[in-house]
Amino acid sequence: MKLSISRYNPEHDESPYLQDYEIELVASDHMLLDVLLRLKQQDDTLSFRRSCREGVCGSDAMNINGRNGLACITRTSTLREPVVIRPLPGFPIIRDLFVDMTQFFKQYESITPYLVNDESPPEKERLQSPAERDRLNGAYECILCACCSSQCPSYWWNPDKFVGPAGLIKAYRFIFDSRDRATEQRLDDLGGDPYRLFRCRTIMNCAEVCPKGLEPVRAIEAIRLKIAQLPVHQGGLETHPPKSPK
């Protein structure tokens, strides 16, 4: 398999460049991450994040043939060669495929990503009806891999002001959680600023590249409708079968 991988070492490179690799595939090379791990055995200077290898942790998000995705769930058999691998676009590059996700997690932190409920806790647990629980479907599955935010032009231009699709789908998850009691504060926080929520231009790259098949754009629209006091679709958010890079 032929690969062209973005390399950058801040100690001696002025800017990133593409380095070509060629590696013979073996029977166990099902996913792109398998190939990258074997490549790293040959060239231990090649740097990238990975952890669970199951598409759950979101660590190995990268830009594969122009499209963001997780290397661990991208099948080698479907990839066009040479496979061009770059770091997540729009994020500062630390080294090779490592990107600085500080701003991304600052935005995530800014939406208060936990349930706020000062009422005295019940004896066992705070119960939800099946319908209340269904509202969280399509949002709670987000693994914060940053594929969506990194492919969002609105986030590229305003990473410090616009929360981004990943943060906003998480915000939806708490705003529409029947156990949360901070809905008004959450809506004021997002609706009171022209950038944090309303910078989304419904480009829909977020839904297109989400490796879990989620649609953050629908979460964003639901929050806007809630702020505008318009009816919001009941039930969870729509999802779709995820599309892998080709």
Partner: protein
Amino acid sequence: MRLRFTGLAAWWVQRASAVFMLLFIVFALVAFWLYPRHSYLEWRSWASSPCVVMAILAFFAALLLHMWVGLRDVLLDYAKPAGLRRLLLGGVAGSLFGMAVWVVLILARLQT
């Protein structure tokens, strides 16, 4: 008070203007389909009736507001230097205002 179409207000403006424009376009197409107008005088007579003049004015108001919100958003994203941004926003605002005046002049001429 300064009229600012940002955040929720801009969102409302874009959606309300889009809905109005869609309704007007459907109305105009149906009107032309049901009552075809074959000459300039027939067109002029239709376009100069008070109700149609008001609808056309409202259509262009919606169109220009929609354009302002959309183009301003594009410029806020891409034109980062403050001076360049002000210049481009001023150019867009001036152009849209010019178009608005032009529409009013055309409709006023129809009344004479």
